[in-house]
């Protein structure tokens, strides 16, 4: 790792939850058992679109050992959804994707529950399956939701028939900009959907005591899960407690509200604790969180000297059967389709389209990796037409400090240009390579999300502390890093603090492990909370040392008088004094920075995604070797440069980049969901849906460009966990295109697709029609 500034504070970082995880003593949700607990199983639709003509659960209820069988008739009749209220807990009249839940069973054990599920009788009248994203926008397409117009939803959403959320961003005069161009380059790309695939399948355990329910669940967003339970079961927040044991990864797949309400409803009906554990197939098919497939149409006008004069982008995004959290995808994807470039005249239009596929939802940097792949592949095509080196073309057109981005936001200090230089330099771009190898380059960007967040800090009489935070750890280490922030604020050691976290009844609100927001927002909160204790400690020390509180310095576990290091008192001793007087308790939240202004752009369907607080930038340069006989591409080396602000936890930050890059390689080459002609997934298993293994992983060089961006989080930190997932697939695409001669226009760029492109272009000079 190289950094351009040495502001890191923790050269060596050992996770507070690490010993639990390496010894096997750490408990994940599926490891929990409660006395008398029952097993839950769901009855799924198994067809993608049909009207339910008969649903009979009487035989299931009669199975010995069954305690509860629920359908939509047994729960409050509530339609829910954060953007469009288009869904109920159980399907009642119509099923709209194969993984939709029709009924739930709780029984003495999993085998009995499965027998009861199998005894449920469902009869269907087939409805036409909406299986094609673009086709769904046609005026004569069957509707996924015939009653769409009557659904409640967020006011600014622009909805029409199968279009659940239309967004556009316009600036300047795109027709004029195209007319002024010396070249206009047109490209079409298609990305398939793919999955988050955390290694832990989700699990939920629910137990009622009186009218209160405690739910242990593998969610990334405990407060959002609580909100979903409260909305659908009509309960107040203070009677629902969500606890997350250790969480076995998420990557967005465990965001949103999922099955907590189903299991809570089963537990209430059965009057027993109930436990649900997903199989890997359920993990693939059922959740409303898979990465969306998108169809892209780009047109870029460019002058003879390589300056972009105009861009048009049109996107159709697969929403799947229900809108989940994807309402903002259209605007966010439009931003990614325009990219971090200076473009005077532009129009991006994006449609979020209902289909009878599994619902889409936020998977690590939603819409970004695939849109970056399409845009950056297109960008290399534009550079080729102009006759410019693609890196020089990006240096000329990419935004920089003080430049105006596509939505009319003028950036403060940012490090994109430095990222390009760092990644390209480390990759040895320009060196002579064998003719089956090439280095591809791509740039990406991602917002930091500025949202409310809270935490408490307390120090007990023995001098040991606890950080009680609403933040959620999903593996990234962001919550672990909070200890360092608090310790530094108080002149103590990170090891002096334990974390109390992932419990909605104990800690204040936090948005959860989503949007790379933990350090940015909860970091602000814990620093504020620790600051209150620091003030208390200074007052106490001032009394003891007969000095002014303003002169007290907290360092190395001691409160001492500035300039007189021998006049000091251990903080632990001050904590003992406080324990018999005013207790050491701090609470913090801090005001999240507001959205920056945009000037001169017009945004339709504006959900606040066009102005980015403390934006992050990146450049990946990837060396690829291609086997021309088989179409198999192998990534030999990745150079990743990131402006994610100040890096507070270097080992954790490297881990985020390494993991995200490998996920990006998977998305580039092997990870894609395929559907049969009835809208059902054909590869919902790990043998058919291939993740990258240890043997596949290339060396990854990481460079952090540490820039002092305005409105960043604690010490200048921005987000980090999603940004490194953005540009990898794009860079791989550009390397493959250099070897093949043209880009592979469908993601993932499987060996078969590469081979087909190679052979049609290699033999005829013409591209294959996909």
């Amino acid at each position: 790792m190289t950094t351009t500034a040495s502001t890191t504070t923790a050269p060596r970082f050992v996770r507070a939850d690490g010993p639990d995880k390496v010894t096997g003593s750490g408990r994940y949700t599926a490891d929990l058992t409660l006395t008398g607990a029952l097993a839950a199983k769901f009855k799924y639709a198994e067809v993608a679109h049909a009207r339910i003509t008969k649903l009979d659960v009487s035989a299931a209820r009669a199975v010995q050992g069954v305690f509860a069988v629920l359908t939509q008739d047994d729960v409050p009749d509530v339609k829910f959804g954060p953007f469009v209220q288009d869904r109920t807990l159980f399907a009642r009249d119509v099923v709209r994707f194969e993984g939709e839940i029709i009924a739930a069973v709780a029984a003495v054990d999993a085998a009995t529950a499965q027998r009861a599920v199998d005894a449920i009788v469902v009869e269907y009248e087939a409805l036409p399956v909406v299986n094609d994203i673009e086709g769904a926008l046609a005026a004569d397409s069957p509707l996924v939701h015939t009653e769409w117009a009557g659904y409640g939803g967020v006011d600014v959403l622009v909805r029409h028939r199968n279009d659940a959320s239309f967004a556009s961003i316009a600036k300047g005069d795109v027709d004029k900009g195209m007319a002024e161009a010396d070249h206009v380059v047109h490209s079409r790309y298609v990305s398939d959907g793919c999955h988050a695939v955390p290694i832990e399948p989700r699990a939920v355990v629910a137990q009622w005591e009186g009218n209160k329910v405690t739910i242990w669940t593998s969610t990334q967003v405990p407060f959002d899960a609580r909100a979903g339970v409260c909305e659908t079961l009509q309960l107040p927040n203070n009677r629902v407690r969500i606890i997350v044991p250790h969480l076995g990864g998420g990557f967005g797949g465990k965001c949103g509200f999922h099955y907590e309400a189903h299991v809570a409803a089963l537990a209430r009906a059965a009057q027993r604790p109930v436990r649900l554990v997903f199989s890997r197939r359920e993990e693939f098919v059922a959740p409303d969180r898979r990465r969306e497939g998108i169809v892209y149409d780009f047109e870029t006008g460019v002058s003879a000297d390589g300056k972009i004069t105009a861009r048009r982008a049109w996107l159709a995004i697969d929403n799947g059967a229900y809108t989940a959290d994807a309402g903002f995808f259209s605007q966010l994807a439009a931003m990614h389709a325009l990219g971090p470039y200076r473009i005077p005249n532009l129009l991006a239009e994006a449609h979020l389209v209902y289909t009878n596929h599994q619902p889409s939802g936020s998977v690590r940097a939603p819409t970004a990796p695939q849109t970056c792949w399409a845009l950056e592949s297109h960008t290399d095509e534009v550079a080729r037409v102009v006759g410019m080196d693609p890196v020089a073309f990006r240096k000329l057109n990419a935004v920089d400090t003080g430049a105006e981005g596509p939505s009319g936001q003028t950036y403060g200090e940012i490090g994109l240009q430095q990222c390009i230089d760092a990644a390209v330099g480390a990759a040895g771009y320009g060196q002579a390579l064998p003719d089956d190898e090439a280095i591809g380059v791509a740039i990406g960007w991602w917002p930091s999300f500025s949202v409310p967040s809270g935490a408490y800090v307390k120090i007990d009489g023995d001098g040991s502390g606890q950080i009680i935070t609403g933040a959620q750890e999903c593996g990234t280490g962001a919550v672990m890093t909070l200890r360092q922030l608090v310790a530094d604020e108080l002149g103590m050691a990170a090891e002096d603090f334990e974390l109390v976290y992932q419990d909605t009844s104990v800690a204040p609100y936090d948005m959860g492990a989503t949007g790379s927001q933990t350090l940015f927002n909860n970091g602000r909160a814990v620093v504020a909370a620790a600051g209150q204790i620091a003030e208390q400690l200074r007052s106490l020390a001032a009394e003891q040392l007969e000095a002014s509180p303003a002169d007290i310095v907290l360092a190395d576990g001691t409160a001492s008088v500035a300039g007189s290091p021998d006049r000091g008192i251990p903080i632990a001793q001050l904590a003992g004094i406080a324990a018999s007087g005013q207790l050491l308790i701090g609470h913090g939240s801090g005001m999240p920075p507001g959205a920056p202004p945009t000037v001169g752009s017009t945004c339709v369907g504006d959900l606040g995604m066009s102005a980015w607080v403390a934006p992050q930038f990146s450049c990946h340069a990837v060396r690829v070797k291609l086997d021309r006989d088989t179409g198999v591409a192998r990534v030999l080396h990745v150079s990743a440069a990131h402006d994610s602000g100040t890096i507070i936890n270097p080992i954790g930050a490297q881990g985020q980049v390494e993991g995200a890059v490998l996920m990006g390689i998977g998305q580039a080459l092997t990870e894609g969901t395929t559907y049969d002609d009835q809208g059902r997934q054909r590869n919902a298993a790990l043998l058919e849906y291939k993740l990258q293994t240890c043997a596949d992983a290339p060396p990854i060089d990481i460079h952090f460009v540490q820039i002092n961006t305005p409105d960043a989080g604690p010490r200048g930190a921005k987000g980090l966990a999603e940004a490194p997932n953005v540009a990898t697939a794009a860079a791989i695409s550009n390397a493959i295109a250099k070897i093949v001669g043209v880009p592979v226009r469908q993601l993932p760029m499987t060996a078969e697709r590469v081979w087909n492109t190679l052979n049609s272009f290699g033999q005829t000079g013409l591209e294959a029609q996909s």
């Binding site: 003593s25 290694i199 969480l247 990864g249 390494e658 996920m663 293994t693 240890c694 043997a695």
Partner: protein
Amino acid sequence: MNDSSTHHINLTVNGIEYPVTVDQGRNLLSVIRTEIGLTGTKEGCDDCECGACMVLLDGQPVNSCSYLAVQAQGRSITTVEGLADGAALSVLQRNLLETGGVQCGFCTPGMLLSATALLERNDSPTEEEVRIGLSGNLCRCTGYTKIVAAVQQTAVELRNG
């Protein structure tokens, strides 16, 4: 009862013998997790695809989701709970933690057992050998870089005593 499908067997896990009664079709993973009560061994796919359920059987790594409990009778089973010596982490456990090879931790038990077996049969593996040796264990968090580094570091430390 001991009908044709039910077996009374003794399983030796981390040096302790456990008498258990199991159906003959029961997999070793579920018996370790529920009957014996050691939940460090994880279930990620139940189909031999992810490696989260890996245990050592007489020192050899196997996916316990796809191994019958009755076949493990009379053999020595090691799970992640058997790697530390009391409160003292094994060299591999400590290195995995200190290099940053642990994130969500769900693949960690299987990864530790694969790597332990690898280092038992090869005390100085090349990077390539480590990567191939761990290729049956899927990790979605780390990109494997720091895990490979931890295994190599451990090999050096164990060789140097």
